[in-house]
Symmetry: D3
Subunit: 137 residues, 6 copies
C-alpha cells in the first residue's frame, strides 16, 4: 500500500456567515472573517489517495489523471470564484475549510474509486498558519 | 547604506474590472480575474527601506516600528476586506498588484521618512507565480 | 471527525546538555549542539486538534482561539527566551525537540479539551531538515 | 513514542519506462515522463523513524546519525546520478517515486533497527505538486 | 515604471561537460556535476519585465501572456528534456545556469518587446542553495 | 556580467544589547530582543557575487568554492555559536542583522576577489518576516 498526494491551488473569495444568525452574532463567532464585502485566499488543496503499486506501471494511479480529476470536479469550480455564491457543491454550506474539505471529499471519492485507487485524505491550507485534514467519516 | 525589508500579509477579495469597459471587454482583458462575484488571494507584501546604520542601535530603523507603520497605513485596511470596495486609498483604482503597490507606496513614503529612513521598494506577490515591484516614480 | 492545525513560531536559545554527564560526555552525544554559550533556532510548532464539525459554526474549534491558547500556554513562554533557563514547564528537561513536544502536549491537552476539542499531535520543526511529532503516549 | 523525521535531498536524472512495452506504449502511460533522453528532479526525501525517548539523551535517536545512514545507504547513491542506470538497489525497477520509496525502505529498515529505532515512513516529493508516502508493506 | 515577474518551472536532465576537456579535466572543474549518465533538477525560472502601467488595464503587461511567451519560447523546450541534447537554443552550450539564463534572455527579449514591455532580468534557481541572475549585458 | 548567489544557513544565539545603555534603555530600544538570557534564530545568508562568464567553464565562479569560502570565513564561525560572545569578527558589535551583514562583507570581499569574482550583496534573513541587504559601502 502506497499513498500518493497531488497539490492543486485555487484563489477564491468567501465569507464566514451563518444566515441563521444576526450580523453581530456572526461577527462574534467569526470576527473579521465575516466581513460583509468578502475577503479571499490562495487555498492549497492536497488530495491523498492510496492503493497497491501496479507492477506494470510502478504507480498507484497516474498523478496527472489524479490532478485532472481534482481540477475537473473541485478546484476548477472554486478557482477565481466566490465560495459562498458560485459553487454548486457548496450551496447552503458555511464555507469554513472544514466544510470545503468534506464537500470536496464527497465530490472526489467515487471518481477516484473508478480510477482504481482509494481516497484517503483531503488537506486544505487556507493560510500558512492554518490547515484542516479530513479522512472521510 | 543598508536595505531592510519587512514582510506583511493580507487576505483580500478583489476583481479586475475597468468600469469604462463592458463585461465582455473586461473578460477579454482580464479573463477569469474579472469574474463578477469576486475571487481572492493571500497577498504577501514586502516593504524595503534603506538608510545608514545608526551606531547607537545597530539598526536602520526598528523592524517592529516598520511593521507597525505598514499594518496601520496599509495592510490593516486591506486584510479581510474587498480591495475594490472597502479601501479608502484604492477608490477608483483597478486593483491590479501594480496599482496596489503604487498606492501603498504613496501611503507609506512620508511616514517612513519621518521615522528616519527612505522607502526603497514595495513588492507584492499575488500568488507563488506572480509578483510586482515598485521603486517609486 | 476533522483535524485542524495551527502554526505558531518561536525564536529561542538553547543547548543540549545533560548535567549528569561531563562536558566531553555531552559533546560526544550532542556535538556542536552542546556548545556552552548557547545557539538558537526559529522553531515552528504545529498543533493539531480534532473533533466533530459544529453544525452551527462549521468549525471544529475557532482557529483564532486555538492560536491564543498555544501562544498563552506555550510559545509566549518560549519565544525570545532561553529554553534551558527561562521556561517554567521545561525545568530540568534536556531541551531536545522531542522533550519540548512532550512538555507542550502536557501544557495544552486539558485546555484544548475545555475548548471542546481533543489534542491530537504536536509537531516541532527545529530546522528545515529536522522535525519531531508527538501524539501523546 | 515519538516520531522524528530527517530531510535529505538528491538531484537525479530518470525516465519512466517499462522495457516490456513499446515506446508508444510507454508514452501512452507516462507521457513526457518517458522522453528517451531523460529528465530530472530535485527530489526531497523525508525519513521518519519512531521510538521511545531515551531518558539520558532526550532523543529517540541522534538526528545526525539518522542523516548519515540515509545518505550512506540511499541518497549518496542517488544524488547526481541516473536513477535508471546507476543505482545498485534500483536495478530492474521502474523509477517512479512509489518504487524509489519502497526500495529506500528496504535499504534503511534494518540499519535503523540496529540504531535502536524503527523505520516508520518514507516520503518522497518529486515536485512541489506531487509526493508519495510508504509505511512498509 | 513597474517590474513584474512570472515564475515558470522545468524539470530537466543535464550534465556539466566541456567537450574540449578530458573526462578527468571535466571532473576536476565540475565534480559530480559532470557524471556521465546525467543528473537533473527542478529548475525555477523567474522572468522579470518592466514598463509603464497602462492606465486602461492597470497592468504593465498581462501576466498570463508573459507566462505563455516564457513557456512557448523557453520552458516547454526544456521541461522533461535533456538540456545538453534536446534543446535547439542550447546547442553547443555548457549547460550551467549562467548559460541557460543568457540563452533564455536571447529567446525572450524581442518577443517581450513586441508585447510592449522590456525584459529586465532572468533568474534561474537550480537548487534551493544556488541561483543566478542575468540582466542582459 | 552574471550574478550568482549561494545560500548558507546558521543557527545561533544572540541578544540585542548596547553596553553603553542601561537594561531599561536596551529594553526600550530592542524590546524582547534584549532579553538577558539570549534567544536565537535559524539565519539564512545569501551571498551574491558577480563577474563575467568564463567561456571554458560556463561559470562566473564555482558555486561549491563560493560555498566553501562562505562557510570557512563566516558561517562556520557563527553556526551553533553565540553571536555576541563567540565570534572573532563580531567582537564589540551589536549583533543586529545589519551589523552581521556588514561584518560578513568585510570577511568575504577580498577572498572572493582572489577567486576571480566580485562580492555584490550580502542578504541575511533572521526570520521569515525580516531581512537585510548590504551592497558594500
Amino acid at each position: 500500500m502506497i499513498y500518493i498526494t497531488r497539490r492543486e491551488c485555487f484563489s477564491s473569495a468567501h465569507r464566514l456567515f451563518n444566515p441563521v444568525l444576526s450580523d453581530s452574532g456572526n461577527f462574534e463567532i467569526y470576527g473579521k472573517c465575516s466581513n460583509p464585502n468578502w475577503h479571499g485566499h490562495n487555498y492549497i488543496m492536497y488530495v491523498t489517495v492510496r492503493g497497491e503499486v501496479n507492477s506494470e506501471t510502478g504507480m498507484v494511479m497516474n498523478m496527472k489523471l489524479l490532478g485532472d480529476i481534482v481540477r475537473r470536479l473541485v478546484t476548477d469550480k472554486l478557482d477565481h470564484h466566490n465560495l459562498n455564491t458560485d459553487v454548486d457543491f457548496l450551496q447552503g454550506v458555511i464555507t469554513t475549510s472544514e466544510n470545503i474539505a468534506i464537500a470536496a471529499w464527497n465530490q472526489l471519492a467515487d471518481e477516484i474509486k473508478k480510477a482504481g485507487a482509494e481516497l484517503y485524505k483531503i488537506k486544505i491550507a487556507e493560510t500558512e498558519n492554518n490547515y484542516v485534514e479530513y479522512y472521510g467519516n
